[in-house]
Symmetry: C2
Subunit: 382 residues, 2 copies
């Protein structure tokens, strides 16, 4: 039995869709195939543009043009080249191309922890968009280690990556100190805006989202609403707290400082904050949490105290992480459009690379209210 698909051909198949016209039907009779092809497969030595040129009877420049700027080449020639490409299984060597063009079509993504589900889902969006546009995605898991952050910049400086996506909320350690003297690489921040630097940001509208969440609670009749997760260090937390305050203000509800508790966004801190409220015995009818993880902590605390949720207390989170729908009671929350955030951020970065300056310094996407079972009208109204 004669098997005709060569590895190289196989690999070149989907390649950038350049060779759309190539035949995928019958195999040429083996002994009409140029000898060079078989050797190249056996010896792991891939076909080069020269092999294609020789087979097509044109110069390498023409081959290059036929592939990259098809309109600049005569129809007949283009056909010959396309055919030769198919026969040899040629794929353009990305290294040589990058060396020559001084761009790698790669994007470096710097994140503190790719394992964080909030990050990894944005990552999917980033990757999807990049791949659609012919870019590859390189990941750097910094674990908040300054050394590693700096280290990853070698991908930029060595031309291995053209642009940078930052999850970290700050420039890589030590970066940008020279006050604009040196141009920074194309960058877009995601998840957390970069402080003290002019980096375009794509993320959820935290202020607005939190406002909508608080409004939802208010619309259910709540007036004593606690906010768990105050923290001045992160923009996310600050904005969400401000949204909460705005909603209360708009409803003419005075903001009670005893209703605003600290937290660092972890489940444990949510639990601790709820416990703290019981110790002080200043109880709200609803908890608005800075994120779902915190809300989970609150729920655990309340469940442990044998409260009946949501009859006794209403709880809202923010993010809509996967288990929000599984916890009891299922959590009413604001859904972050993570996929869209990733796609939009990558879109912006690629536009930047093509020399288009961003129209606005930040793109804010709406969070969506997801109503589940953790909110009801407050007990004293029933």
């Amino acid at each position: 039995m004669q098997i005709c698909i060569s590895l190289a051909q196989l690999m070149s198949r989907g390649s950038k869709g350049l060779l759309r016209g190539s035949r995928r039907d019958g195999c040429p009779n083996p002994d009409t195939r140029p000898r060079g092809v078989e050797r190249s497969v056996q010896h792991q030595k891939l076909a080069t543009i020269e092999d294609v040129a020789a087979l097509a009877g044109v110069s390498i420049a023409t081959v290059s043009r036929a592939i990259n700027e098809p309109t600049k080449v005569a129809d007949a020639t283009r056909r010959k080249v396309t055919e030769a490409v198919a026969k040899t299984g040629y794929t353009t060597n990305a290294m040589a191309r990058s060396l020559r063009m001084r761009r790698s079509n790669m994007i470096l993504i710097l994140a503190p922890d790719v394992g964080d589900p909030n990050f990894s889902n944005i990552l999917v969006g980033l990757e999807t968009e990049a791949s659609k546009r012919g870019y590859g995605v390189l990941i750097g898991n910094t674990q908040n280690d300054p050394t590693r952050e700096t280290d990853y910049l070698r991908f930029i400086s060595s031309n291995q990556a053209d642009g940078l996506i930052l999850f970290t909320g700050h420039l890589p350690y030590g970066f940008g100190q020279e006050g604009g003297e040196a141009r920074l690489p194309a960058m877009v921040a995601v998840n957390e805006p970069v402080a003290n630097a002019d980096v375009p940001f794509v993320g959820v509208d935290n202020f607005e989202g939190s406002r909508v969440a608080a409004e939802h609670l208010i619309s259910q009749g709540h007036r004593r609403i606690a906010f768990i997760g105050h923290s001045t260090s992160k923009a996310v937390n600050m904005l969400r707290e401000q949204g909460y305050r705005a909603a209360l203000q708009a409803a003419r509800i005075e903001v009670d400082p005893r209703m605003i508790l600290d937290g660092d966004g972890t489940t444990e801190s949510g639990r601790a904050a709820a416990e703290h409220m019981f110790v002080r015995d200043v109880l709200p009818s609803a908890f608005l949490c800075v994120n779902d993880a915190t809300a989970l902590g609150v729920i655990i605390s309340l469940n442990t105290r044998k409260y009946d949720l949501p009859r006794d207390f209403s709880i809202m989170g923010f993010d809509d992480i996967s288990f929000a729908s599984f916890v009891t009671p299922a959590l009413t929350t604001m859904k972050q459009p993570r996929l869209k955030i990733g796609e939009k951020a990558m879109d912006l970065l690629l536009a930047l690379l093509e020399g288009k300056p961003p129209k606005e310094p930040e793109v804010l996407l709406r969070a969506e209210l997801i109503v589940r079972n953790s909110v009801s009208r407050p007990g004293y109204e029933r």
Copy 2:
């Protein structure tokens, strides 16, 4: 105020640790610095090996050697080169190097969904190990789309990646059909072994882990133990079921086929399976689930039916995903060493790239029993 750290210098800092000896202390007086440096920064044109050679007064070959094989160069010369490198802020151009050396020091990771927390945590391990060894990590999110799988192979065929990590459980679509005629790239499978192909595998020991889990239930006195998540399609499920059977057999408990239910590993399927048991009214005292997501479904079902857990039923999962500790009752489960799996898999792949054939076809890591609150002695014993 004079700021002396140039962007290029900054970027070259951590770079592969080659220039360990370079000074990081006082800045040279600005006007003793060669003019070229400033220009190169301004014009975004990075220093090349030639610039370094000129400054150090040696040939480019010597510079290359001083950087890559320091022992082959005289001490004095090495010092001169190191100094010139520091002054120019030289970083070796990865593209040129890769082109010449025909290796990119990049690894391509193919995963169906990077957003899956099970995957993303292995990913962290992969990345950590790769980075430690000077490799970069390229991700391909295939979404189980055959076209995308094939498409990503261009990274291999174009020399942009040297090796491949497969999360997918199968070779990229259409790959390897030519029956060994063409050599496949260096590959290691993770999470799910590759069927019908000789690809080294690194993962958790599912059989043994599941056996330990079942043993744990048996040791608590359970004899009617259901297994939720039977499925012949995936190796993971098969092995976990076999571990369950082995434990029962060893304890001389007959395996009741009515106690083995289908499931596809989702929370919904776990819920459905539990419901199914109640409809048929063939009840176990404990549920051993193929994974935590399934176990969560079972718990939801039982909670909804107002059972008191774990008094009425014991539940065990497998994986130890993040919320396992937050659900009520907190889930007793087998913890997958995800980080370690990633690290080990990458280690194996890099060894493979260095020409060392793997000693064994698969590396199995032990799962760890995590005891929480979802298991107690069965009710009829109390």
